[in-house]
Amino acid sequence: MSIAREFTKGLWEIIPPFRLVLGLCPTLAVTTSAENGMGMGLATTFVLVCSNLLVSLLRKIIPSKVRIAAYVVIIASFVVIVELMMQAYTFPLYQALGIFIPLIVVNCIILGRAEAFAGKNGPVASIADGLGVGLGFTISLAVLGAFREILGSGTLWGHGLFWEGFEPFTFMVRAPGAFVALGLFLAAINLISAKLDDRKRRAQS
């Protein structure tokens, strides 16, 4: 597969929360606004790209019996770096995301990509894979966050959208709203991909 292919597969074929259905904990918890979703996505992307690169560079040195431990150390180090950087330069975002930043360590997407891809492929392909999957994750979270923010608080990116007296559907920014929104998105994505598959099959026959 070409490098571009490694990159684009993360945007649709294996877009993390919708197709792999991985990393749902932050997906459900932080998407109360588009900004939070995007911030979380970018932090995860940074960790994913860095850990993919390092895992791929070290893949021939790390003995396979201790590979998971080694991956976790690498991932955890990058997460702590992200956490310190966020505290230093984007404190309000750090406060909004809270406990979910340290929890990037146990995000299945990152360990999953390290194990399934970076541990078997070269550094350039691994960076492309990390960028693609990370960007897919960021876009998913931002879109999901925007959807919930528009309905739940009547704003987008903190700006009011509706007329005065609009009663926001607060349910959507609460925890149950996260499940409902994710369910709707999963259904929509499945519907679209079923349609696409159908068309492909018909074109072939």
């Binding site: 019996k65 150390v73 690498i74 955890a76 310190l84 505290q87 230093a88």
Partner: protein, 191 residues
């Protein structure tokens, strides 16, 4: 045997390198983290009590050693100076005293030349909601404005809250504690 040795060496090396890297990042970000913590947590209170300054009080903050806690760790008082034309004309710092339920933390601004309060803001408290918690309301805190800082403040001097005598007394006591602090460390605050 060789396998086990290799595992040990590789894992130890990875941990050592990442430990070193983290120590480095921690060192670099320590200053900005302290700054942004103060900026987002304390700045609103500092802005409420100091007016007319041209500097960044958070950036120019002073740490004054005021003693040690029970474990022997040094306790620092953080002072936010307000400067005009490079000279400190007022300072803001925190003071606390017991209210009805737990300590009340008060950020207060002091005009150094006039020896009077420029304003106060309640930064932390656990008073009863609806009663003692009214100490955060502006018609209470505004009554501290321009009160002298060179003689003891009494409850009668300010707009005391009815039904929240102990909370009111707590805030007044915090101001009086601050007077003692001011007298003791005044020279260090204006450097």
């Amino acid at each position: 045997m060789r396998d086990i040795l290799k595992m040990l060496v590789v894992l130890t090396a990875i941990c050592a390198v990442s430990g070193f890297l983290l120590a480095l990042v921690h060192d670099v970000t320590r200053e900005p983290i302290e700054y942004s913590r103060l900026k987002f947590v304390k700045e609103p209170a500092v802005k409420a009590v100091l007016k007319g300054y041209q500097n960044d009080p958070i950036k120019d903050r002073l740490s004054i050693l005021v003693g040690k806690d029970k474990k022997g760790k040094p306790v620092n008082l953080i002072v936010f100076p307000a400067k005009k034309d490079g000279k400190t004309f007022a300072v803001a710092f925190e003071s606390s005293a017991a209210g009805y339920h737990g300590d009340i933390g008060v950020m207060l601004g002091v005009d150094l030349a006039g020896k009077k309060l420029t304003g106060i803001s309640i930064v932390s408290h656990t008073e009863t909601p609806g009663l003692g918690a009214r100490i955060t309301e502006t018609n209470f805190t505004d009554s501290f404005k321009d009160k002298p800082m060179d003689k003891e403040l009494a409850v009668g001097d300010i707009n005391a809250l009815s039904g929240a005598t102990l909370s009111t007394k707590g805030v007044v006591a915090a101001i009086n504690n601050a007077q003692a602090t001011l007298n003791k460390y005044r020279d260090k605050m204006v450097q």
